[in-house]
């Protein structure tokens, strides 16, 4: 049954491993990669809800990520709101925009859906580029900061160092994983898969495909928005470059090669495909040639992705998290 819980020992070991990373990894650069990985775990899990669970190819996900970054950055610049308010605000705004967009586009499917999401992403990019009074256009919004975190009983804690910010993004990644874990095991989440497999049949049995897709779309966008806010404040700079097509490509690679429709696959995919491109940074054109080829080959010949089947193969059955994938 899909509801079996992860083995407690494995879960504990993984958590412990994640927690000690800043103590073991003293190299700033590698720590930076772990931070970016954790942020992209949040993004990939969100995209996976739409692409992997309800089976709709949305190319608007990177636009939601960028929108979240802009919302938080603009609140910081114009209203001096800190990231701790900017981040939930980014989640709420992206969720609201996704809801409005979903209200019109979740009534169409297939090519029409895909192309509308592209058009939406392009419009967002043009707004960020051309609404210079608000966004400063190509100059972008520099100087974002990571504010201190106020902890009741302790007071303000500075989390701006890489070692400490790691725990912030780790918390975000774990929380997102938990949210997705609960969601896909809820009745709504089980409906995701039913709609993906046979929408007409699911509707004839009482499932609203529109509502089901909407939930995946809105939650996925909120995760992207949250991650965008974290990313903007961490990098310290938000610009229209965030809307580049390369972002959605790498997000899709994380989800597809990780194993769409599973949780562990896209999460690991985010880590692997954050590290790999950076490690191949010297050969930057080569690496996109390689990744694009892998995307084509995996889509054609490995519909289950690469990472999840590997995990399935390597981790003993009794330790595994149920069958994570509905198939």
């Amino acid at each position: 049954m899909p509801d079996s819980k992860p083995h407690p020992i494995i879960l504990g070991a993984v958590l412990a491993g994640l927690l000690i990373i800043p103590l073991v990894v003293r190299d700033e650069y590698y720590l930076h990669l772990f931070i970016v990985s954790a942020i992209f775990v949040v993004v990939a899990l969100g995209l996976n809800l739409i692409v992997g669970y309800v089976g709709q190819l949305s190319l608007a996900h990177a636009a939601f990520f960028a929108l979240g970054a802009y919302v938080s950055a603009l609140l910081f610049f114009n209203l001096k709101w800190s990231m701790w308010i900017g981040m939930p605000a980014a989640a709420i705004v992206t969720a609201a925009v996704a809801f409005a967009l979903g209200w019109v586009i979740l009534r169409v499917r297939g090519h029409r859906f895909v192309i509308i999401t592209v058009a939406f992403a392009e419009i967002m990019r043009l707004v960020a580029t051309n609404w210079v009074d608000l966004t400063r256009g190509f100059m972008g919004l520099p100087g974002l900061q990571i504010p201190a975190l106020y902890v009741p009983g302790i007071g303000a804690v500075d989390v701006s160092s890489k070692e400490r910010f790691y725990y912030v993004v780790l918390a975000a990644a774990l929380l997102s994983f938990y949210i997705c874990y609960r969601l896909v095991r809820s009745s709504v989440g089980r409906a995701f898969v039913l709609v993906r497999e046979n929408e007409v049949l699911a509707e004839s049995l009482g499932i609203s495909a529109f509502r089901t897709c909407m939930i995946a779309f809105v939650v996925g966008a909120a995760l992207a928005g949250t991650a965008g806010a974290l990313y903007g404040h961490y990098i310290g700079f938000v610009s229209p470059d965030l809307f580049n097509f390369s972002y959605i490509t790498i997000m899709l690679i994380m989800v597809i090669l990780g194993g769409k429709g599973t949780l562990i696959g896209p999460a690991l995919g985010a880590v692997v495909f954050t590290f790999l491109p950076e490690l191949l940074r010297e050969a930057s054109y080569y690496r996109m040639v390689i990744f694009a080829s892998i995307l084509v080959i995996a889509t054609l010949f490995m519909p289950r992705g690469i990472i999840f089947p590997l995990v399935e193969h390597l981790v003993p059955r009794r330790w595994r998290k149920g069958h994570d994938r509905a198939a």
Binding site: L126, N130, A292
Partner: protein, 289 residues
Amino acid sequence: MLDLAIFGQHLLNGVLIGCAYALIAIGLTMIFGVMNIANFAHGEFYMMGGFAAFYLVTLLKLNYFIALPLAVVLVVVLAVAIQQIVFKRLRDAPVMTTTLVTIGLSILLEHVALLLWGPQPQVIPNPFPTRPLSFFGIYTTPLYLFSMAVTAALIVVGHLLIQRTRMGKAMRATFQNREAAALVGVRIDRVYLYAFTFGAALAAAAGAVLGGFIPVEPTMGGVATLKAFVVVILGGMGSFVGAIAGGLLLGLAEALGAGYFSTGWKDAIGFFAVILLLLFRPEGLFKRA
């Protein structure tokens, strides 16, 4: 006051760009209509057509008028290979698969181009005199006129091929109803191959011809694909005539929009139109009679 000469200038530029958009979009709409694939890699043929012509002229020192058709031939060879290796496997595949594959292919071709030819924009050297010509206060160059004549001629030739030849009829039959076409003896795999290569050839021709004044660079394929999608949706997905009309409409709207309004926002209008049309009028602006 509306200055007629300036208006005419915008109109002329718009028609030229419009013809180029139409040339690129014809292939996209055919691949969509016949194969049911939204080919995100289509603009890369336009990009490669430009580079092929550039290197034939500069590296091999070929005559400009020989280099242009030869560039198209080279891209056609590549297109046949891509069709046989990749697109053949996409027959009857779900939208998710076809789209992901063509997105991957687009990124792949773009970065292969970056790797081979670098990011710097290149202008194809051409034998035309650069001295502008003037008619009634409207300025143009011989290269512009040549490009416009070639793109317009290619559109007409393409249209005749689709309307008059056996293969063109087979393509139209496949677009109307694939099962029925297969039943009456149309060889679907042949139709796929021809539609794909034909579309690639037109896009490559646009790249080669326009490369004389629009610099050729590896990233231009992605932009061209998006423009072509706008055109295809304006004209109705799968409609040949719609692609021509849509191309001219977008070219003119852009030239006039850029001339009289802001250049930055003009693209947004096209994308808004795309969203509205896909939601409420997927058959496009000019429904076929």
